[in-house]
């Protein structure tokens, strides 16, 4: 076991994938609790598709993928938030429209620029080889910023998540906190997309929160439990991916599914007892 870990960490790309992945799963889990409870899960999914589209365009144009994708996805996040809160189009339908639209654009751009090669596969389902050293530094800095902002604004984020009307009525800038949440989510999704793949990254947001809610009953315990579950599942998933040569992103999702099933079983047993 120790030998296995030692060999695994002797590969630089594995270390990079672990560092970025663990930070991203931590951020995603924390934000996920609010997003799931606010019924915004689909926004996370929509954003990852927009991320795929803009990543494809940035690569085709030979621009830095992260620096282009982050602002595009942040803008998309604000747009989706607006659509779900007051749009004339039905919010969920609008999100589906934007996701599939971006996906289609991305696939066309990729096939025109490099042909439908394994590249598309990497974009869609992630690759541990995707992160360059500069990507890792950018990811670490941004992930730390997301974590700090989340911790500072934890209380108002709870207030806005639990009862937005009350928060608004008592003079809290609910709109601003929703934007903050959308902004942090957008950044987290772009950071995690390379390793997890744009099809699978939203699982990091949704699974840990739902898993934690099976057993925990207060917002703080759900948040902490979700963070722990997410990091453990990412670690376990990536180790399994290395051991059995399975795709990284998919292995992490399977680890999350197993955690969800175990927690559901615990909840069931607790109810019976």
């Amino acid at each position: 076991m120790f030998d296995m870990l030692q060999t695994m960490f002797s590969y630089h790309f594995m270390v990079r994938a672990f560092v970025v992945g663990i930070l991203v799963s931590l951020c995603a889990a924390l934000l996920g609790v609010s997003l799931v409870l606010k019924r915004y899960s689909m926004i996370g999914d929509g954003l990852s598709h927009v991320g795929f589209g803009s990543l494809a365009v940035a690569t085709a144009m030979g621009l830095s993928p992260m620096l282009i994708t982050i602002p595009v996805v942040v803008l998309a996040a604000f747009l989706l938030l607006r659509l779900s809160s007051r749009g004339k189009l039905k919010g969920d339908a609008a999100i589906a429209m934007i996701s599939t639209g971006s996906l289609a654009t991305g696939v066309i751009v990729l096939s025109l620029s490099s042909g439908m090669t394994s590249d598309v596969n990497n974009y869609l389902f992630g690759s541990v080889l995707a992160m360059s050293v500069s990507d890792v530094w950018l990811s670490v800095v941004l992930a730390v910023v997301v974590l700090i902002l989340f911790i500072i604004f934890y209380r108002p984020i709870f207030a806005v998540t639990f009862d937005e009307t009350f928060a608004r009525a008592t003079g809290s800038h609910a709109e601003a906190y929703n934007m903050l949440l959308a902004f942090l989510t957008a950044v987290t999704i772009v950071l995690g997309m390379r390793v997890m793949g744009s099809m699978l990254i939203s699982s990091l947001i949704i699974f840990p929160a739902l898993t934690a809610m099976r057993v925990c009953r207060s917002f703080r315990s759900v948040t902490i439990c979700s963070a722990v579950v997410s990091v453990v599942c990412f670690f376990a998933g990536l180790c399994c991916s290395y051991l059995f040569s399975t795709p990284a992103g998919a292995s992490v999702v399977v680890a999350n599914i197993i955690a969800f099933l175990i927690f559901s079983l615990v909840a069931l047993l607790k109810k019976r007892a």
Binding site: L37, R155, F166, S218, F219
Partner: protein, 233 residues
């Protein structure tokens, strides 16, 4: 000077005018009940008083140093998520307002005082979603009290509660009004209780509107029709 003054205020919802030319002065330390049929604009009025919607014409003024952030609000129960993982303590402290985003010692103290006042200290670590309707209302009332020392706006605080819990709720509100000097504005469908407790009644209906004391209300045609048998209370 009144706590809140509405001058010829018109409120619209989705482009339709719901409240037209409302003149209302809410005085400090009064108990005002808002009654009327469904769809007559009671909830719209509360939202207007809270500043959640702005009047399309006319205006709403806050007086006597009342800040928008210092209004306590108890929303309709259907507006609060019932399957939300949060402890009573988390719910109550979410009403505390201040410059610091963190929970300060003074916020904790205020929250604890309100929790004791409403008699929910034994359940403060429990999960909000596992509580009974009455306990949930007490927790939400404690949250509203953390936000205010002067004005409490309530949207049907007893809807869906059983008669015993309803009476307890009314007694708590009456106690807050009398002992803490809170100004209370309450929407109610319970006309009997409204006539019993309130200093003034605002009856809203499409078009006609009545504002006056319970005795005056009983003597009007509108009051007799609406209160029915309850007018003898």
């Amino acid at each position: 000077m009144a706590l809140i003054t509405c001058k010829k205020a018109c409120f619209a919802y989705e482009g339709r005018v719901i409240i037209d030319h409302l003149d209302l002065k809410i005085k400090s330390n009064e108990y005002l009940c808002v009654v009327g049929e469904n769809g007559s604009g009671k909830s719209t009025l509360i939202k207007g008083l809270l500043g959640l919607i702005t009047p399309v014409r006319g205006c709403v003024h806050y007086g006597e140093g009342l800040q928008r952030s210092a209004i306590g609000y108890l929303p309709q129960r259907t507006d609060v998520q019932n399957d939300f993982p949060a402890s009573v303590w988390e719910v109550v402290t979410s009403g505390c307002r201040g410059r610091s985003p963190f929970l300060t010692a003074s916020m904790r103290k205020t929250a604890m005082e309100n929790i004791e006042l409403l008699g929910i200290e034994s359940i403060r670590r429990q999960s909000f979603m596992e509580l009974s309707g009455g306990q949930q209302q007490r927790a939400l009332l404690a949250r509203a009290l953390c936000a205010t020392r002067s004005l409490l706006l309530m949207d049907e605080p007893v809807a869906g509660l059983d008669p015993l819990v309803t009476r307890e709720m009314y007694e708590i509100i009456e106690m807050l009004h009398r002992e803490r000097g809170l100004t209370v504005v309450m929407i109610s469908h319970d006309i009997g209780a409204a006539l019993n407790y309130a200093d003034r009644i605002l009856h809203m209906s499409n078009g006609a509107c009545f504002l006056g004391t319970p005795d005056e209300y009983r003597s009007t045609e509108l009051g007799q029709a609406f209160a029915g048998g309850a007018s003898h209370v």
